[in-house]
Symmetry: C2
Subunit: 265 residues, 2 copies
């Protein structure tokens, strides 16, 4: 089963387009977890058990684990193993935004796909095709390429116009062609920019998009869904991280967001 | 002492613009190291001891360590500690090409600067200023921003023209302004493209550039130096990885390249 099939199955099983971002910053963890042996893993386990029937994917942001060095990466590996054992039908996306010259990207692929066993990863397009190719060759994995990101600085370069076409659209066009080989490409399009999302959807009618920026970053859910859903009311992985995992009741927060999304489907 | 001062001191001490890239792929290591307890660290130690009087910097490519998972990162940490203890005057650049939304970049900075104690890192500009800012705020560290990379796919996006100006020049212009705050920016400009290097030098007359692509990737040393040296015959960190560390005699290879570079200074 490839990533897209696994994702679609999880979407159906949990009737959900919600992805919970495991940005498990040790400094923000509820105090009860800090006494435990591996606080970050125990926290993740709690969040996962609270939300496993509400999500289509989990997305650990690897930077939060790397910030804690080798111990942090142990917590990450344990988290992936836990999900794969207890909820093997839920895909895990590693938000890593990697890319380098081909021989180096190959090493990142080894790390994220072979060593950590992630189902999908995010990658950065700035270096062009040969930097993405080693990832694409893992045909059963999902390769989620940054198109239009959710942060304020996104406009610095992504909106620059090449013959009236913004750079992020040039990226989207390339991704559509790269997707032809194995159909394993997805794109990141920030929820903070529904107009841009609409343009990318017009170019990639059936492709899945990972949507960060709902919640803390301020993106509107209604506008995002209106602009981004495919004809069959799917095609989006709506991520929320801090808004769920650090809320008073993560299960309630996830349930509400899952249901709010489904109102528009 | 900030990164640029440390770098300039090492350049003077070793009369060298050569940076040795520690892309220590376990599969390519000489067999004698494989029997050791930590082959990658022992190999790095050997390379470092062979070249410490010939380089201005070392540059581990973090992907090669991540590919080996937690054990690989332990080897990397030991390598950094070894250099910092025995050769504290040689700066260490982590080639990691990170960048994400601000709060996430902050976590990467914690990992690479606080946890691993690197002196400088490479970062990717696609997400714009707020993705780079958390790194820049480490004013004593070197922030090396990708401008024009050395790989074939670099032309996919970096050469696209915005009103006749290629994207990589737009990036270079922004970096020049970002550099005004703390003077801690550098750029990556591939040796495979001397014409582009010349254009970037014209914009950033005194800035240091990290130059990959000499050696295995085929860049011409003479053309690179002609196009890239500053007025005072400095301003370049010329990286060679595989061409030195996997050569029959790494010391001879490093000595030759160091001296060849100096012929043009």
């Amino acid at each position: 089963m490839n990533f897209i099939q696994k994702l679609e199955k999880a979407i159906r099983k949990n009737n959900s387009l919600l992805c919970v971002g495991l940005d498990s910053d040790l400094e923000k963890l509820p105090k009860t977890f800090l006494k435990k042996n591996d606080p970050v893993f125990e926290f993740n386990k709690f969040i996962i058990d609270q939300t496993s029937d509400l999500v289509c994917a989990y997305k650990p942001q690897i930077a939060y684990y790397e910030a804690k060095g080798i111990e942090g990466l142990k917590s990450l590996k344990r988290t992936v193993e836990y999900i794969n054992k207890k909820y093997p039908y839920i895909p895990i996306i590693c938000d890593a935004k990697r890319a380098d010259i081909g021989s180096t990207s190959q090493q990142y692929a080894k790390s994220l796909f072979d060593y950590f066993s992630f189902d999908a990863i995010t990658v950065n397009p700035y270096l062009g095709f040969d930097a993405i190719e080693p990832f694409l060759n893992y045909k059963n994995k999902g390769i989620i390429i940054l198109c239009r990101t959710s942060n304020p600085g996104a406009s610095d370069f992504q909106d620059l116009k090449i013959n009236k076409t913004p750079l992020y659209i040039e990226v989207a066009k390339k991704v559509v062609t790269w997707n032809k080989t194995y159909g394993n490409c997805l794109m990141v399009v920030g929820a903070t920019w529904p107009q841009q999302l609409k343009k990318v959807r017009a170019l990639a009618k059936d492709m899945f998009f990972l949507i960060p920026g709902i919640g803390v970053q301020g993106g509107s859910l209604e506008k995002t869904l209106e602009a981004g859903l495919t004809k069959n009311k799917s095609g989006l992985i709506i991520n929320s991280s801090r808004g769920i995992i650090f809320s008073e009741n993560p299960r309630t927060a996830a349930l509400q967001l899952r249901n709010n999304i489904n109102k528009y489907r």
